[in-house]
Amino acid sequence: MSDLTLTKKAEAPQKAKGEFARFVERFLEDRVAVFGLALISVIVLLAVLAPLIAPQNPYDLGRVDIMDSRQPPGAQALDGFTMWLGSDGVGRDLWSGILYGLRISLMVGLVSGLIAACLGLVIGLVAAYFGGRIENVIMRIVDLQLSLPSVLVALILVALLGKGVDKIILALVVVQWAYYARTVRGSALVERRKEYVEAARSLGLSHTRTMLRHILPNCLAPVIVIATVQTAHAISLEATLSFLGVGLPQTEPSLGVLISNGFQYMLSGKYWISFFPGVALLLTIVGINLVGDRLRDVLNPRLEK
């Protein structure tokens, strides 16, 4: 099986175009995944177009009015428009808040996930491939990172840099990269000893080439599993950090901030304040995962029939 993989991967560059078409075709075979893709596309579209479709700019304190606060879904705002999903504790229209919040949450989740995954992947690969002292140092740094509570990391960053989207992304990268590194190292250790790697090495291929062309593709499956979970998790981790007071600024809420603001209303009967942002978050994450699951199945060389 392993030599089969080796040949296929070695041929990949020549047949890139054909492979991509085949990849799209295979992806589209699964109807649920297509639904997920459609869902994500709609959500991304809504997020991108938020300034055009939102009835209110929820970040403009001149337009948000506390006299509108805690209104149930369908109520009329003082500005005249209808708040179809109601309003939150400071009078922000929830529909507008969700549209704008999606932008932030998607960005925070995807960007921090992507950076952390790349960083973790490289570090994990290096650790597994070179072994010895390098591996020891890297893995101890991973231990160090994993034992630092994320709240503390976020608090230190808030104190140093203040609150903001870029800062929370940095905090989430710092918190997450070690997960990827640890997982990648685990899979790469197994791959490293397989015959095809030995073969590539004895052929005199460079370290970089061996790692990226041969070990990496075979470690991708677990990374994608972790990535789809972690991206979703990053979005809810951001919510948790905001809940603990070390997340994003209150006046420019993400979905997570909207949910954590609604937390205190959960027992009060004003369900909509955290319910609708929760639904939005759920749909986003379901979409990401449906697509991610299919991607993993399609990309995984070992699942080919």
Binding site: L61, G89, V90, G269, K270
Partner: protein, 530 residues
């Protein structure tokens, strides 16, 4: 057969009218209270903080007591008189016994006062309450306290020092006291156990001098998360909870299993403006260029106060669990002004004043505040920012974790000066009268004299300082109150700070229990009756 007999018995009980008793009634001798914050120790002199003090009040007593409005009354001292301007004589309550059976005498008072400054590594000692006082035993039940200068706040201070047993607490450490060794007082309840992070258990002191307390056993549970505390009450985990979140008050009031009670708090929520610097870091012209600190102009300060719709904040954000504020303390307290009223909301007036002050187009400002320190603090700051934006001041909000905020707001600037241009903060007068607010908040900052310690705006007005100084040396209550009221009026009319609202403290209890709310935020089993 069994079933029939049981239902018969049930019907009989119904007839007798006792079936209507709630389930909890079986253990009604036990009271379970859900607290929002846990004490850091069972040592009463270790940490001068509300969660510690309120628990200590059950086990230990003070010479002077404070009622639910913080009015002073008899405690372990049953009467007192001024022998001269500098000497107070207290006669102690006779026949009072500590929990271990030993009698209470003047020696215990002297022991306790000596212990206060000698608690090692105390994060907040109570030394300021004993400062300058010399104790002298006349006989077992008579005590004299001398001060170097006339000191009107003597009784307020004595209400803060818990009396420990000289015999039981000799040579015990804070850790011993946490474990129950030497945790012996004269109070209505006795220490049973303290499990940090979980609970503190007390039992009734049957021999208490004021009569048998109401509850056989009292368990304090520490439940920090607000909605969880409410859930713990609704699910029957606890009988009473403190700090009911304002969001749940309306719902709990309509729930017939629960009664809600509240008391006006001595805590003021206010805005402080930077008066220290000519160029304040978080204020710019709207185009981003530097401008002189606008807060040095009285009209700007008045405009900001006028721009606040305090009633809307109370109604819409605090959901009625607050009262609009016009001065530093609610006027039920000594030394407050009778004439100051909350500034009326007037957008046009505010705009006009800003224009007159030379800011027809406003400016841009960042308000800083803590998140999670006061009820709804972030939302209140956001509401204030909305209102300032409406009169033309572009306002941004930056809320910080309390650990970051208070450090920077107090000493974050150059040379350990306050860092921010405008902050929202809260203040409660521990003394229960106006000098406890006016001095720290608006007296000219003077580390040596201990005045202006919370004056993070560095407001300074010689007239206010003079009145304050005079008041603090006046022993006559009525005259002192007049001076303090006068000082408050001068400072508030000069808008030294912008008062927003007074908090309310709220408790919820299962039906059948009555909680007498206290202004000092303490939750006491003694205030809970059936």
């Amino acid at each position: 057969m069994t079933i029939t007999r049981r239902s018969l018995a049930f019907a009989g009980a119904l007839l007798a009218g006792i079936a209507a008793m709630p389930v909890g009634a079986a253990t009604a001798q036990e009271l379970k209270i859900g607290l929002a914050a846990e004490p850091s120790s069972a040592d009463p002199h270790f940490h001068n903080l509300t969660p510690n003090n309120q628990v200590a009040r059950h086990i230990f007593e003070t010479l002077i007591s404070q009622d639910e409005f913080q009015r002073l009354g008899v405690g372990l001292a049953q009467s007192w008189k001024l022998i001269d301007d500098l000497t107070w004589e207290f006669s102690l309550r006779p026949n009072v016994k500590f929990h271990d059976g030993s009698p209470f005498t003047a020696d215990d008072v002297i022991f306790s006062f000596n212990r206060v400054p000698n608690v090692p590594k105390s994060p907040a000692p109570k030394t300021s309450f004993i400062r300058g006082k010399t104790l002298e035993k006349v006989n077992d039940l008579t005590l004299r306290i001398k001060t170097p200068s006339p000191y009107p706040l003597m009784l307020n201070d004595l209400a803060q020092i818990e009396i420990m047993s000289a015999k039981a607490a000799a040579n015990v450490t804070t850790e011993d006291l946490n474990a129950g060794k030497g945790t012996v007082g004269t109070g209505p309840y006795q220490f049973v156990e303290f499990v940090p992070g979980d609970r503190l258990v007390l039992k009734r002191n049957d021999a208490h001098w004021a009569g048998k307390p109401a509850w056989e056993k009292v368990t304090f549970r520490f439940i920090k998360a607000d909605p969880t505390r409410v859930a713990a009450l609704l699910s029957g985990d606890v009988d009473v909870i403190e700090n009911v979140p304002s969001a749940d008050v309306t719902r709990l009031k309509s729930d017939n299993r629960v009664t809600v009670s509240s008391a006006l708090s001595n805590r003021l929520i206010y805005l402080h403006m930077d008066r220290l610097r000519d160029d304040t870091p978080f204020i710019k012209a709207k185009d981003g260029s530097a401008i002189k600190n606008p807060f040095n102009n009285l009209k700007v300060r008045q405009a900001l106060s006028m721009a606040l719709n305090r009633q809307a904040i109370v109604d819409r954000i605090m959901e009625g669990e607050a009262v609009v504020a016009g001065q530093l303390l609610p006027d039920i307290y000594q030394g407050t002004s009778r004439t100051l009223k909350p500034v009326a909301y007037n957008v046009d007036g505010a705009r006009k004043l800003l224009a007159e002050a030379g800011f027809p187009n406003g400016f841009s400002l960042t308000i800083h505040g803590p998140n999670g320190r006061y009820p709804n603090d972030t939302k209140v700051i956001e509401a204030v920012a909305q209102m300032f934006t409406r009169v033309g001041i572009d306002t941004k909000v930056e809320t910080l974790p309390p650990a970051v905020f208070f450090s920077r707001a107090s000493t974050g600037g150059p040379n350990r000066t306050p860092e921010f241009s405008m902050i929202l903060a809260g203040w409660s007068a521990g003394t229960g009268e106006a000098s406890g607010s006016l001095g720290p908040l608006l007296g000219t900052f003077d580390a040596q004299a201990g005045i202006g310690s919370a004056n993070r705006g560095r407001y300074s007005n010689p007239e206010v300082d003079a009145l304050l100084k005079k008041a603090l040396a006046t022993v006559n209550d009525g005259e002192r109150a007049k001076l303090l009221a006068q000082g408050t009026e001068v400072a508030i009319n000069d808008v030294g700070l912008i008062p927003v609202y007074y908090n309310k403290n709220t408790w919820a209890a299962r039906k059948g229990l009555k909680v007498i709310g206290r202004t000092d935020e303490y939750t006491l089993a003694m205030s809970i009756t059936r």
